[in-house]
Subunit: 389 residues, 2 copies
């Protein structure tokens, strides 16, 4: 397999064990808000090699708290990549066959432009001076990254949760650049309940006096407590009641009986506190505000007169839509709405609801049925695209 010349060529630097592209120098990115952003940076990782025809690229879109370190050690936590069960040599997304790209979203905190980066206008971290971005803005930035890498189109774009929103947006915004699309555990618009949970998280952050109106980085503080509470609340929504019950039930944490106090008597409390405290080590509070906001604003049909099918009209992309039975954050009926719209657009679509009791996070976990289905879908798609084995 030959590697295309321009990939990882010029204009990039390696940071934190990854790559960063400086984009929007000549032509800035026009955000949905009307603000123009440029120059800006997109930090990304790649795995595998682009073939000579530049036709084997798979873009992986990460979720709210994910990042570009999809299949390699995380530079901050030292933990394995967040989707190593899916991505790697011989895995479903086989890095010996495909050229895999994963970019930190615009607004993120792992090297792409966002509220933690220095605002050229002030010389200080942006904080809330960073413009609010949308899922479409994230996707447009990724498209600029592909231009920069000299990749005309994607063999596949895949992602779960907010990653799935980006997949849908890619298919709608760049139908000719997406051969196949795999939106997992997502929706074409964020529900009222999900907006409500996000708002709780944002209020928890903004209620923390250490947040300081968003200027904490300049002022040397950090709203860790608020961000931890936001993470704890969100984390419950990523699991199912069944999973929580099976994993923890009412088991006590390193004690024989309840202590009649406010320590973490129950394992589930201890687990949640741990989720909160480890999260703040690797994530930025303002990024959390920006990315949750982008999800809240996502409503693909709204851009098309309220008719979701119009977002996909004339599409030639092959879709595989995946949901999980116990996902109550993005329940199957929301995936079904996407499928109905794709059907109405006469798209090539397969849809699978996977039986799992692991809740929304199932897409990140060992789900043999998901692996099997996606392997089949990718192999079929690769054949249709004429990719060499």
């Amino acid at each position: 397999m030959a590697e295309a010349d321009s990939v990882h060529g010029h204009g990039e630097a390696r940071v934190q064990g990854g790559l960063v592209a400086a984009l929007g120098r000549e032509r800035p990115l026009r955000l949905e808000s009307g603000v123009t952003l440029g120059p800006f940076t997109i930090a990304y990782q790649t795995y595998g090699r682009l073939d000579a025809e530049r036709r084997n690229a798979i873009l992986i879109c990460h979720a709210l708290t994910g990042d570009q370190h999809v299949a390699s050690r995380h530079p901050v936590t030292g933990k394995p990549g967040w989707w190593e069960s899916m991505v790697g040599p011989g895995r479903v997304i086989d890095t010996e066959r495909y050229f895999v790209i994963c970019a930190n979203v615009l607004g993120g905190c792992m090297g792409s432009s966002g509220p933690t980066e220095i605002d050229p206008a002030s010389g200080k971290p942006y904080g809330l001076a960073f413009p609010v971005v949308t899922i479409a803005d994230m996707v447009n930035a990724q498209a600029m990254l592909l231009d920069h890498l000299g990749i005309p189109d994607l063999f596949c774009v895949i992602g779960g949760s907010m990653g799935g929103m980006q997949v849908l947006q890619w298919a709608a915004s760049y139908p000719d650049r997406v051969f196949s699309a795999i939106p997992i555990a997502c929706a074409a618009r964020h529900s009222a309940q999900n907006i409500a949970f996000h708002e709780v998280g944002r209020q928890a952050i903004m209620a923390d006096p250490e947040w300081r109106g968003g200027d904490y980085l300049s002022l040397g503080s950090n709203p860790r407590a608020g961000l931890a509470v936001a993470r704890m609340a969100a984390h419950i929504t990523y699991l199912s009641e069944t999973a929580l019950h099976r994993k923890f039930g009412r088991n006590l944490q390193n004690r024989e009986r309840i202590t009649f106090g406010f320590e973490a008597d129950f394992q589930v409390e201890s687990y949640l506190r741990h989720q909160g405290s480890t999260f703040v080590e690797r994530f930025d509070a303002n990024s959390y505000l920006y990315i949750t906001r982008a999800m809240d604003y996502f409503d693909l049909a709204a851009e098309h007169g309220g008719v979701l099918a119009k977002a996909f009209s004339g599409t030639r992309t092959r879709f595989c839509v995946v949901s999980f039975t116990s996902d109550w954050l993005f329940p199957t009926r929301e995936s079904r709405e996407v499928v109905h719209a794709l059907n109405a657009a006469a798209a090539n679509v397969s849809f699978v609801e996977i039986e799992s009791d692991k809740g929304h996070d199932a897409f990140l976990l060992d789900e043999p049925e998901m692996f099997k289905i996606l392997r089949g879908f990718l192999e079929g798609s690769a054949e249709h695209r004429g990719l060499r084995r």
Copy 2:
């Protein structure tokens, strides 16, 4: 109908438009933790008149953030009682027929002993020096209130959510004092997911620097922001996704389009913020810690070797168990477990799952089917008890 003499007799004072009983003077209350509490106060409201035989008393048990003002104006908010649709002249719980008692729970903040009250030991508000209490402790305190009022037994004990937990505890602890029992939208033990949500709320409160290790009342501060976040997170769990979608969907709040900022663009955000900010006007943060903890600790089977049926063995109480289809905080299967245990104990039990899309809070709302069922159950029970019309 004759009014019994001793009710509202001696040893009480009216405060905030209600009554307060001083209890545990001669014999203190031994809490489940082993701590003895006494003297202590229970603030309560009554409606209607106790009949000469003292057989028409109904005890209403309130939920986490409820209080004794069940059917009369709230002294702090000025709003109607929290269950006026259910309780009043000619209502299902007919105050022209029944003598209705509703007491603020132990640990509460509306006049019953709890963390806001003055600790005789220090002369300052208890704060976290108040002993942690359980549902059984709350019920034992209510039983002492009945002794104080000269009421030998209850025609009925009724309540929803945490109120329903108290109902179950009443039936288990005082089978001979409960003629009929109506546990609504509750469970015999608190689930891992519910403990998790409570823990998020507690962490939000304790993360607020104004909480000051629980000593905020002595130190002149108030963890309003933390308590508001706790309320917001909890409030989502009281509704259903359908209710949120119907009520708010993705509607914007007093604006034509999204603002690309962190103001409350969506009605659901504005609504949640309002829920948070009004709640802190009437509720105490430490009480929130104590009462959520009491719910977390509730596990009726655990007291009986893990066999819930044993909690009700030999019971002669007539039960009416009620759940709601869209209640995901206390789903129907948890009510069904109670019913199975009652069946195994050969109890007299009827069970109704009411079709409603209003979520857990349905029990507080206009639910004609619930009214109809409870009216029938109460009339049948009154006939069996030989109550005069």
